[in-house]
Symmetry: C2
Subunit: 253 residues, 2 copies
Amino acid sequence: MSDSNDKPLGRYIRVLETVAAARTGLTLTDIARELGLQPGTAHRLIRGLVDQDLLGSAPGTKSYVTGPRLQALLHATMDQAGYAGLAKPVLDGLVAEFGETAHLARLNGDFAESVLMEQPSGADRAFVQPGRQLPLHAAASGKAILAFQDEAFVARYLSRPRERYTEKTKVEDLDIRNELAQIRADGVAVCDNELDAGVLSYGHPIQVNGGYVLYSVGITGLADRFRPMERSRIKQRLAEAAADLGRKLGFTA
Amino acid sequence: MSDSNDKPLGRYIRVLETVAAARTGLTLTDIARELGLQPGTAHRLIRGLVDQDLLGSAPGTKSYVTGPRLQALLHATMDQAGYAGLAKPVLDGLVAEFGETAHLARLNGDFAESVLMEQPSGADRAFVQPGRQLPLHAAASGKAILAFQDEAFVARYLSRPRERYTEKTKVEDLDIRNELAQIRADGVAVCDNELDAGVLSYGHPIQVNGGYVLYSVGITGLADRFRPMERSRIKQRLAEAAADLGRKLGFTA
DNA sequence: GAAATTATTTTCGATATTCGAAAGTTCAGG
DNA sequence: CCTGAACTTTCGAATATCGAAAATAATTTC
């Protein structure tokens, strides 16, 4: 009888399951023994999975853990209700302090998707309602995520045409790369009239345990009213919120 | 340049990501268009994924959703901290009401692994501390999960030898099958001195959106003290807790 | 209800990947 | 330095995958 589990795909998945089930990192030999594979085969399978970022190996060590792409996949499947319970209180805290709209965005393909939004009572119309796909080069929460992706991702993103939403939208490779560098240095991304006219927003990356950035948290408001707000305070509170959310959304790598 | 994403494994994963990112089920054509695949290729990839239970197709319809094996894999990558934020409040509620230990268990291989436990202050020694592997035939939270697995899983489980932990442990196929049927009818599983002597516990399956049961929630106490507690009340509160947890741990199918 | 359109499934030879076995490296302890 | 375990590479044979095209099924249109 030919078990469907000895097809190539099935073997890859069994390796993933083995690693995922382990509390701690597994070594090549662990995996080979567990699945009854010879070392050479296990090595090839693992390499394939690492190439796809489905497994990661803590640099320096020889043990493997679940990779960022698998974590992203998990988050992508989680229901919005799952996020709401975790993230809503944090967003509410931001709303209470600044009186502007706060939202949580998640990397989804080539966009940052808004997955949760909280507004002050009597808010303007929503610019970041859940489901909206925010461009990675022209939204604060998008830029905050893009700035912390690896070079291969950034290069791929920049290799494709980008839409210009307003006359202030940055579309040149160099402009965008410079801004990403600044975001990495500063910790916070700004989008001033680059996506929606008259709208100003701040975004902060959310780092989960492994250090990967899949989410960002942002505050958005009408530029005229929001601009005077003290920037250092916004930055500090966003950083706190991001740290809190990172813990709540986090994984043990 | 040969992108690692056009290797066979990468294409399978991209299909999974596409389906996972969609809020609703995707049809073959949707997937093919999204990924720029020709229909025949998409069909073969999808079929391979369905064979592995990584994708599922709602019976009758032609649209694909994430399958039970993918859900199990992704959940397995979540660690205790990830659960804590979601499930701790629910367990705390049970502890507050009954004054006994509550825990969340997850199907892991041929055992139900306790992944989170909450105890009343001044508790007895812990019988379900996180990490403990609870047998599927001799623990309330294990039986609650086993009762809702498909026939192939149950048959495979019963085809292998089972340990007898106490003289009350049920090990005969027929006894176990009868009890599983009763659990399906009743909704709640009981383990009375079958695993740890002097310990009584109740378990309730947790259904996530697709209907798959990967988790259960349970209450455990010393039999002498716990037995007098009103059973219907326990059952009702466990059902509520399970519904709540199912929402929080759930996926968009 | 027949024709046209769109969606799904199957077939095909060529190509690329995977397979297990065995040999070759690297690394850590004694 | 030697030894053994863990890790990595190599190899021809077996197998899965590839894109293109054709066949079937389901839906829509007229």
